[in-house]
């Protein structure tokens, strides 16, 4: 796996980020800023709609959105990871997974910019994280690794079947509304299974619960780890089968 050659994707992904923000003063914090604006606006409206106190709701929404942005853009950008890297893939032989991890890494860096800002915002509202916050570190590692297999799989499928790209975009939009990001899972009532059987919910939860200091259910870890193992096996299977074909497809 190309994970073992970190200097390549570290450099490439970092370069992408530098490129994107070359002409702006606050750099990657643009993303953070837009997230904060979104959290502010949505928080204001939805806390009333859902009957939640702003102090409880804003941090919940903030962490959820930041993690969601990572998940969503990893899926969306992942779809075109090989297609947009095609000029490189056709010129030099470097492992395909490098192109994939590059995408994950640059989105992960954005996440790492935004998450602390949200935590600071949370403290501003008088909610301080406790020692459980430490649990976000294994959580982040898992989040990064999930990204890797997701991009490998989606990039491979999308370079063969081009209509999967808009399908994936739609999927991300729909998933956003049915996953407890905007609203707390506890409000589901009888529909609790919508969250319990949603791997995306558990993926968010392994970051959100430790930040907010709520109880992290062991189910979330089981789901996340299970998903990770299943996903990596599938990615591995895909790679061994079609690794050599991708260059012909793009």
């Amino acid at each position: 796996m190309a994970l073992l050659a970190p200097h390549v994707w570290l450099a490439l992904g970092w370069h992408d980020i530098k490129q994107r923000y070359r002409r702006s003063v606050i750099g990657p914090f643009w993303f953070t800023l837009s997230t904060l604006l979104m959290v502010g606006a949505l928080g204001f409206v939805y806390s009333t709609l859902l009957g939640q106190s702003l102090r409880e709701y804003l941090p919940y929404l903030g962490v959820g959105l930041v993690v969601w942005q990572y998940i969503g853009s990893v899926i969306n950008e992942g779809c075109s990871a090989f297609i947009s890297g095609s000029f490189l893939i056709k010129q030099v032989r470097i492992p395909l997974t490098i192109h994939a991890i590059r995408v994950v890494w640059r989105n992960f860096v954005i996440l790492l910019h935004s998450l602390p800002v949200v935590i600071i915002l949370m403290m501003f509202f008088g909610k301080f994280p406790n020692w459980e916050l430490l649990m976000i570190f294994p959580g982040l590692v898992i989040l990064f690794l999930q990204g890797v297999w997701v991009v490998v799989v989606s990039a491979t499928i999308c370079s063969r079947f081009r209509d999967v790209v808009p399908i994936a975009t739609n999927f991300v939009t729909i998933a956003f509304f049915v996953t407890p990001v905007l609203w707390p899972a506890s409000q589901l009532g009888n529909l609790a299974w919508v969250a319990e059987w949603n791997p995306l919910y558990h993926t968010i939860e392994i970051i959100r619960a430790p930040v907010l200091g709520g109880d992290l259910h062991w189910q979330s870890w089981v789901w996340s780890l299970g998903l990770l193992v299943a996903g990596f096996s599938f990615a591995q299977y895909l790679m061994t089968r079609v690794r050599e074909r991708v260059a012909y497809w793009i």
Binding site: L12, H15, Q19, F87, L88, Q91, V92, F161, A247
Partner: protein, 250 residues
């Protein structure tokens, strides 16, 4: 160990996917309808770019690939550089390979000259420390001076070529794969470039060069392989001093 290239029965076939073949939807309909449509669907046209190539190149050989446009030269070079895996047959190579297929490959227009040098090194699999050691030599060679701190998009096309040339010829390799001889820049630089290339070719133990320029082939190469419609039509040594139309067949 000795450097060699051994291609046995190597074929490359490009599937041509029409829009309908790129579609997952159609593939699904395909599964459900079966029968006649299914047959039509799976029969996408295939272009045979290389047809059962047998080619052994051993240490010390400088091979010229000649042939019309579309005869398979570039495809063969891409197979040799590992971009395309043969769809049939076996490919064995031993030695560090460098390919100069498209020299302006991977030049990022928004990155500075220095950044481009660095990125390219990364993609060639060099460790950051090694690249830092080489950057000055490459920068000197380009004669671009302070321009290297500016984004590449501000360069003239000649300057861009100089940079690309300096970067791609800075690698050391046992097997050198080239698509056309590179000629760049004004008289002064092109003399320098020629010397650089000659050195590079001299150091490499195998050269594979695709070219239309027969006098160049006669000057540089020791063996000529003529491709036509993806097949090897002719494979003969080039005697030094021979004019091209007098050479004997093997």
């Amino acid at each position: 160990m000795d450097t060699f290239i051994r291609a046995q029965d190597v074929s490359v076939e490009f599937p041509i996917y029409e829009n309908s073949h790129r579609s997952l939807k159609n593939r699904m309909i395909d599964l459900t309808t079966g029968g006649r449509i299914a047959k039509d669907m799976s029969r996408h046209p295939v272009v045979t770019a290389l047809d059962r190539i047998h080619l052994n190149i051993s240490h010390g050989e400088k091979v010229a690939l000649v042939g019309h446009n579309g005869s398979g030269k570039t495809t063969l070079l891409r197979v040799l550089s590992g971009v395309y895996a043969p769809t049939r047959g076996k490919m064995e190579m031993h030695g560090r390979t460098a390919s100069l297929l498209d020299v302006s490959m991977g030049l990022d227009p928004d990155a500075t000259g220095f950044e481009n040098i660095y990125l390219r090194g990364i993609m060639d699999g060099l460790k950051p420390a090694v690249i830092r050691g080489k950057i000055d030599a490459i920068a000197d060679f380009t004669d671009l001076g302070d321009y290297l701190n500016l984004p590449v998009r501000t360069y003239s096309s000649g300057m861009m070529l100089r940079l690309a040339f300096a970067i791609s010829t800075s690698v050391e390799a046992d097997i050198l794969i080239m698509d056309e001889w590179l000629s760049v820049g004004d008289a002064e630089f092109s003399a320098k470039a020629k010397q650089r290339l000659d050195e590079m070719v001299g150091q490499a133990s195998i050269l594979v060069l695709a070219s239309h320029d027969l006098s160049l082939v006669a000057r540089v190469c020791t063996r000529m392989v003529r491709l036509e419609h993806g097949k090897i039509m002719e494979d003969c040594p080039i005697q030094k001093g021979d004019s091209m139309n007098q050479r004997g067949h093997q």
